[in-house]
């Protein structure tokens, strides 16, 4: 603890200490002289603390080090290289990498803004439709024809609802 602070970007001794307070939340970055210069911290035309925090939080040694996104094949190493993820699914695959990062990067760690209501409703409808269709298949295969008829009617109803939903607004 008594040892001098190390730069968040390289391992030199940190001499530039930045503190940012956003609505009572404290964010800190420690940098050495040359990294501070390189990042434009002393430049009046501005720098982005978020970018710094992002890079500073990329120290490996955590659980997802060997993980690979099933959806797109992205790995944690790729993230270290690009600073961007491969696909939306990556946020679940690498959640243990993302979560500690967010705390330092944003004002909060949970979304409280706009919700894509229509998009979500459509997805729910879509998922339900898929479920019913596989039920129908099962019912037909096992010759439960009363059940099959019921599933078929429900699918019909859902499809109608779906069409009304996806009609353009104007």
């Amino acid at each position: 603890m008594a040892s001098p602070l190390k730069c968040d970007l390289c391992s030199n001794q940190a001499t530039v200490h930045l503190t940012q307070i956003v609505n009572n939340k404290v964010h800190k970055v420690d940098l050495c002289e040359s990294c501070a210069q390189a990042k434009g911290v002393t430049d009046p035309s501005g720098f982005s603390l978020a970018d710094l925090l992002l890079k500073a939080s990329l120290n490996p040694d955590n659980a997802t080090a060997g993980a690979r996104c099933e959806q797109c094949g992205f790995t944690q190493n790729d993230f270290k290289k690009h600073g961007r993820f491969g696909c939306p699914q990556c946020y679940e695959t690498f959640s243990s990498l993302v979560e500690p990062m967010l705390d330092n990067m944003h004002k909060g760690t949970a979304h409280t803004g706009k919700v894509p209501q229509k998009s979500l409703e459509r997805k729910t409808l879509h998922d339900r439709l898929g479920e019913l269709e596989s039920n129908l298949d099962d019912a037909v295969k096992t010759e439960r024809f009363e059940d099959a008829a019921r599933f078929r009617d429900e699918i019909q109803q859902l499809k109608q609802a779906f069409e009304q939903h996806s009609k353009p607004a104007r």
């Binding site: 982005s48 993820f85 491969g86 944003h106 004002k107």
Partner: protein, 361 residues
């Protein structure tokens, strides 16, 4: 309509007079959106990007604000067209240098532009002259809702809109104002302001974003964080930071007039003289001179109706716009000559300055 004809039609930034005001040149909001179940553009193959481009273009074509719009693939655009679009803040530098499958859709008055396959599948942008955060938000919110009826967005209840870079998670919203702050620059207070604004969770950049210089004393101020607050809360916080910067700039101007009016008037008068008589002007010098004249308008040295001319010239004095006025390629020194010609012509008929000691609004 083609990009070429779009560039010669009147636009929000170059031609509207209604919402012009001192200090805040323009307001912009952009939303980052991605399609569910597809790799982000930087991690997709060409065929996947082409598919996303097609799907997004089709969805956009059906929305109300994009009824009259121009679409173009980046690969179809010439370097000059790309540069002009960057100078008008309609596409980013990143998009203009991007690979196959990237595109842009821009509406006729150039207030709405949607970049496809930049860092995210969709970067929706609404731009308004003057200080109009609320108006810009209501327009972009409506367009986003219309798109959401047609596209399945990548969204998580906890992290909000999922974006390629985690710095944009949550609302995916970046709101910014382009501010003209000559008095803060002249009085050497800008560094202090940048530091204070940074501490409040906002970012200050030059005219053309990250790493660009602040010639003409023009700065972009935007929110840094996107997650943990609603869009309205972010806009409110940004709005109050902007109000306080405006107040500081006005105070700095009052102080300059009070303590050293002749020096300030001298700067404005000389700028006027150079614009009327010079034969070689770099774009950076032109920006600085125009900036002083805009300050002159705010101080009633020139009449208010000159503001539209200055704001138009801020855009038209940029290198791409100058090159676009002739058919053959220009060397940079030839461009400087052409720029000076253009400005001499414009300022030959410009109002004469009237300097009074109490020239404040």
């Amino acid at each position: 309509m083609t990009i070429a004809s779009l560039l010669s039609t009147p636009s929000e930034l170059t031609d509207t007079a209604s919402s012009k005001c001192p200090i805040v040149l323009m307001t912009r909001i952009r939303l980052a959106r991605n399609l569910a179940g597809r790799s982000f553009p930087g991690w997709s193959r060409e065929a996947q990007r082409a598919e996303v481009l097609e799907v997004c273009r089709e969805a956009l074509a059906g929305t109300a604000p994009m009824k009259r719009s121009v679409k173009a693939a980046v690969s179809e655009l010439t370097d000059l067209q790309k540069q002009i679009l960057v100078e008008r803040h309609l596409i980013s530098r990143e998009l203009s240098g991007s690979k196959d499958g990237a595109g842009v859709v821009i509406n006729k008055d150039q207030t709405v532009s949607v970049m496809i396959n930049e860092e995210d599948h969709l970067r929706i942008q609404v731009l308004r002259a003057g200080f109009q955060l609320k108006k810009a938000w209501s327009v972009i919110n409506a367009l986003d809702s219309e798109l959401e009826e047609r596209l399945d967005y990548a969204y998580s209840a906890k992290l909000g809109y999922l974006t390629a870079c985690p710095t944009n998670l949550g609302t995916g919203m970046r709101a910014s104002a382009m501010m003209h702050l000559p008095a803060l620059v002249i009085s050497g207070q800008m560094e202090k302001v940048v530091r204070a604004v940074n501490q409040l969770g906002m970012v200050v950049r030059g005219l053309f974003g990250e790493g660009s210089d602040a010639s003409g004393s023009i700065f972009q101020i935007s929110n840094q964080t996107t997650l943990g607050e609603s869009e309205e809360e972010i806009l409110k916080r940004l709005g109050s930071v902007l109000e306080s910067i405006i107040e500081h700039e006005l105070n700095a101007r009052a102080k300059l007039i009070e303590t050293d009016a002749p020096k300030l008037h001298d700067k404005i008068g000389r700028a006027y003289g150079i614009l009327q008589n010079s034969h070689l002007l770099t774009s950076s010098e032109a920006m600085n001179l125009l900036s002083l004249l805009r300050l002159g308008i705010d101080l009633s040295v020139f009449p208010e109706d000159c503001r539209t001319i200055i704001d138009r010239l801020f855009i038209e004095a940029q290198p791409g716009h100058i090159q676009n006025t002739v058919q053959h390629d220009l060397e940079s020194v030839q461009r400087d000559a052409l720029r000076a010609d253009k400005l001499r012509t414009e300022f030959a008929t410009f109002a004469k300055p009237t300097f009074t000691i109490n020239g404040q609004n």
